[in-house]
Symmetry: C2
Subunit: 339 residues, 2 copies
């Protein structure tokens, strides 16, 4: 039995979406035990009248909620009774719990996880690794995408190792083609950090390093893992999501501008629905935090039920595949760098 | 009469596209005089049989071409007889020439311009400012997008001043809403450079600073200028272009997958053609290099005739609006920082 905590507050559709997601996940996977954190009364109200296996569900009362605008360090220090901080502390203190899922404040989650959970031995900096769909039906993981706005080449190498193991063990991608995000393909492009990382990655047998990637090629299907500092990785992921969303909105608006387009769109209804589903990044699960001592999955703040189910599945697969142990083993093969 | 050099070699459709663009631009604007650099025989061959005002066209023979893979510093040092370096040197040496347009190697152009042309007094670092269309029909300029992979907060402030003046004087955007690219909207987001730049921009009356921008909002129409370091700015622009292109390709492929979709798409033919035009970033001109002593416009390597005409028009408008002088005046209002 794998035990996972679901933080039921902090996201846009809370506690309805996480509670519903928990019920669906429990139903789909009999090997799962879920612990819900948050205001117990509100969680029980959501559960009311719904059928679920209550021998595999535990509720931990945590009345406070962390707002999106709260300073992460304050949230970690002052809001120990929040659904998120309680989840992190439970995850740290209880050996029977393997992972947690949250749709709350990213900053508070990263800070809390770093301060309270600690890291896999050898890991200098945990990093986020969200997944995007590529145009040939594959997936690409981007690591880091926001946990570390400043990095060294040693950090980038560790991101590459962690994300490669993640894509291989959780998504079954064999020997993931791993690239370094840069402003051009040539080895000498970018700043000193990029040039150093390029040289180091070429000498890292744990990683199938295929060179630099220009951001325009992210969705091409030529890459399984992209390694980046948290600042430009964040720009890469959010620009992709934002552009896809804005273009879909524009298409919709343009379709409504003329009757003939509306008729045409009617014939293509299924296709447009498929495109919308394809471009809805919630369908690809959350952004996992790689490198913390226990598994942390961050769902988008706007996650609805299905997206949170995906996050729970991700956390489950990470635990079952023993990803943390594999990361520790690979990282130990390389010299350690100080923070 | 405004004199502009068109580098006729280095791009994908050379010399056909730049030569045709020159003819079209001369026809559209009687106040324009163009100087074409490159292998004279090939340029003359392209001109053959075409009608144009030869009193406003000059050809300067420059037989060498700079390849995309050549090291910029080598190109600048060793290829003085290339169409691009000859153009840069002419621009520097001849007072009657105002600007140049090139679709050749970006690296060679930046390095050549910095080494040979020098900067507007007070400017620490020239920066690229490409333009993208927003979803409400406006435009947004992104500065820097690749000339400086490493920056300081003082550089970012200068980029903001230059790009604001550019959008106002060349595109008629009144009081351009200027944002700093960051990983979140709050003032304390990002690294020290971003936090410093945020504080400085708030105290810069020459700029209508509206705060941090998350990359997902680039096309929303809420911003006229986005300020970034050259690395993340490059990621921002190329990800937007790449995502739009990949999605259009996917739509096209999906349309061809079923007959009913093909019929639907037929009814929407004009709409799809409009979308394609809208998302073709060549229609918005080149990426101007702001801050060099004379005007330099970089067209995309894949630019066809119409795109190069746009670049020539941009260079013309920059010169006519006396942008360089206005940049010098505004920059002089702030303390100068050393490189």
């Amino acid at each position: 039995m794998i035990k996972i905590i679901v933080d039921c507050f902090g996201g846009d559709h809370c506690p309805q979406a996480p509670v519903e997601a928990a019920i669906k996940a429990l139903e789909a996977n009999k090997d799962l035990f879920l612990i819900l954190t948050g205001e117990e009364g509100l969680i029980r109200k959501e559960l009311e009248g719904k059928s679920y296996d209550d021998t595999r569900l535990e509720i931990i009362h945590a009345p406070e909620v962390i707002g999106c605008d709260e300073k992460p360090t304050d949230a970690v220090r002052l809001k120990r009774n929040s659904s998120m901080m309680k989840a992190i502390i439970l995850l740290r203190d209880r050996d029977d719990i393997a992972a947690m899922v949250s749709t709350g404040s990213t900053g508070a989650l990263v800070t809390g996880a770093l301060v309270r959970l600690g890291r896999i031995p050898g890991i200098i900096r945990p990093a986020f690794c969200p997944i995007l769909p590529t145009m040939n039906g594959g997936l690409v993981g981007i690591c880091d995408s926001g946990a570390n706005v400043e990095v060294t080449s040693a950090h980038l190498r560790q991101f590459a190792i962690m994300a490669s193991l993640y894509m291989e063990n959780v998504y079954g991608v064999k020997n993931p083609r791993t690239a370094l995000l840069n402003v051009g393909k040539e080895a000498e492009k970018g700043d000193d950090i990029r040039r150093e990382a390029y040289a180091m990655l070429k000498e890292t047998p744990s990683v199938n390093f295929v060179g630099n990637m220009e951001s325009r090629d992210l969705l091409s299907g030529s890459y399984d893992v992209v390694v980046a500092d948290g600042f430009s990785g964040n720009v890469l992921v959010k620009t992709t999501e934002g552009t896809a969303l804005e273009l879909l909105k524009k298409l919709k608006k343009d379709i409504y501008s003329r009757t003939i387009y509306k008729i045409g769109a009617l014939l293509m209804k299924k296709m447009f629905a498929d495109e919308k589903k394809f471009m809805n990044y919630q369908n690809y699960g959350g952004s996992v935090l790689l490198g913390t001592s226990k598994v942390v999955v961050k769902g988008h703040g706007s996650s609805k039920t299905a997206a949170i189910v995906k996050c729970i599945e991700q956390a489950y697969r990470m635990e079952v595949s023993k990803l943390s142990g594999k990361i520790e083993t690979e990282i130990a093969k390389y010299e350690h760098y100080e923070l």
